[in-house]
Amino acid sequence: MAALQAILNGLLVGGIYALIAMGMALVFGVMRLVNFAHGAFLMVGMYLAYFGYTLFKLNPYWGFGLVGAALFLLGMGVYWLLVRRVMGQSDFLQILLTEGIALCLIGGAQLLFTGDYRSISLPLADKTANLGPLNFNVAYVVSFVIALLAVTSMYLFMKYTEMGRAIRGVAQNRLVAPLMGIRVQWISGVSFAFGVACAGAAGALLLPIFYVNPTIGGPYNLKSFVIVVLGGMGSVEGAALGGLILGVTEGLTAYYWSDSYTQVVDFVLFLAVLLLRPQGLLGKKAP
């Protein structure tokens, strides 16, 4: 039963991982760009949610949409000012640029907010619900449900809207897409901003159950790399599944081995997938 509880805890965290990683998968799929600043944008989202709560009493469970919208605009700005200039250049420069953006965001947060750990306490976070022998922390459940709703609506958006089709078109073939009347620059910008918004919204959902400080994004950055590779680089559905898998793996590692080795297992899994199955768990062909 305790093992079942571990799996359940892992699933609940995995929902949020799915949302984070989906943003990164979207950016990679459309732009072939690995966004090393993804975790830093998540951190920005957490700070926005934090100040939204402490200054304006905005509950993160309502405010996550606003945080996502703000991060969408930030992502747009970063795309037009910086990222756009390295599109089509070597991935060497692209990676270094996004890493530079990450350092700017983390360093900026350190300057503005110091390195202090901050957290909010929602009354919700102390409640637990029971289902038979299993315990649910209510805050985790709410975050999980919202994250899954966000993932699902993103999936439907990609599948059924004109914009979603255009995004998938660019992801499939950057050269042919403009011949079909798709504005590739514009779609790239929107996808980048969507990816950043996912990270920001996920940050807002993490805030009630976690603390925030400037370097909090690092582990999530690495985790989303792991998840995106698990799901097959660039596959949005794969990333959602990969998030859940990673969450469960972490839950089981914590239960059977030790809490401090969850990340070691993450990275071993990551290397194993990269080396043995680079197309991801769901992918059909090598990328």
Binding site: V34, L82, S258
Partner: protein, 313 residues
């Protein structure tokens, strides 16, 4: 002879520095410049010449630093033996990590090097014989008085060695192989270069230099922990040093190390926590406006124009 003049002047300056620079704090900055120059040069072999964006080089630095401390604490070996063992261990680690990660290309390679380095950091953080997050005390290489100055003189031959390796790589067939791999791995293979072997050679050289630098670093700062000698930030810093000065050049990483260390120290006096922001800004600016690094500044249009104006005026 003319060709070697800049190197001669540079090393003469470094050798004489402790004689006229008595301030301990300034001496420590110079030591740091030397160590970072070694790191930049070493990273440049893999990241610059071979074009393999490694963001896990800190693994070898950490192995060097931790070897000195671990062999001292558990086997009472002196730091010199610890350094030698550290270099050997780092080469073994490079062999393992390289043979796994070099199969991957582009962003996949960069990510996998981070993963390998992070595994080491997490192990150092969680194992009991490395004392976890508390870190370890590393032995000094020389007894007081002037122990740090003596260690500085031990670091200079390392820089000279790194410089020699870089010069050799720049002109030798080996260096051209690496550049061929950077430009196009498949084409390089088609003309008879074995990318797997050449990349591994570059990584072994690089890892050995980085590990030795890590050992000396531990000897001077004498306190090491997972968050000081195994953090991803240090890997990024190595890349930044090479990028800032100029990738795939001999002098680039040296110039990068001088500029970055001096600027960061100067900035620290004004803004305590600003260094990360500063590194990030620098990285963004270099990537966007000066991808060839500072050594390429003479090729910029505004530089040429203002130089021409100065001449005309």
């Amino acid at each position: 002879m003319r060709r070697w003049l800049p190197a001669l002047v540079f090393f003469a300056l470094l050798v004489s520095l402790p004689l006229w620079l008595k301030d301990a704090y300034l001496q420590q900055i110079v030591f740091r410049v030397v160590i970072f120059a070694v790191l930049g040069i070493a990273w440049n072999l893999v990241g610059g010449y071979a074009g393999q964006l490694s963001l896990g080089h800190v693994a070898y630095f950490g192995i060097g630093a931790y070897s000195v401390a671990l062999f001292h604490e558990h086997f009472e070996l002196n730091p010199w033996l610890g350094t030698v063992l550290g270099v050997v261990l780092a080469c073994l680690a490079a062999l393992l990590i390289g043979s796994l990660t070099f199969r991957l290309r582009g962003p996949y390679f960069a990510l996998s090097t981070i993963a390998a380095a992070e595994i080491l950091r997490l192990l150092a953080l969680n194992l009991s014989f490395t004392h976890g997050a508390i870190g370890m005390i590393a032995p000094a290489f020389f007894a007081e008085p002037n122990g740090d100055t003596k260690t500085y003189y031990a670091a200079l031959p390392l820089l000279l060695l790194a410089f020699a390796v870089a010069t050799y790589t720049h002109r030798s067939r080996f260096g051209y192989y690496l550049r061929a791999i950077r430009e196009n791995e498949d084409t390089a293979m088609a003309v008879g270069v074995n990318p797997a072997v050449e990349k591994l050679k570059a990584l072994l050289l690089s890892a050995a230099l980085v590990a030795a630098a890590g050992a000396l670093y531990a000897g001077v700062f004498q306190f090491i922990g997972p968050d000081s000698v195994l953090t991803v930030d240090l890997s990024v810093q190595m890349a930044l040093i090479a990028m800032l000065g100029g990738v795939a050049t001999v002098w680039g990483p040296i110039i990068g190390a001088v500029v970055l260390t001096v600027a960061a120290e100067g900035l620290k006096a004004y803004l305590e926590r600003a260094h990360l922001f500063f590194y990030g800004l620098l990285l963004v600016l270099v990537v966007l406006f000066l991808p060839g690094g500072l050594v390429s500044i003479t090729k910029l249009r505004w530089f040429r124009r203002s130089a021409a104006r100065a001449q005309a005026g």
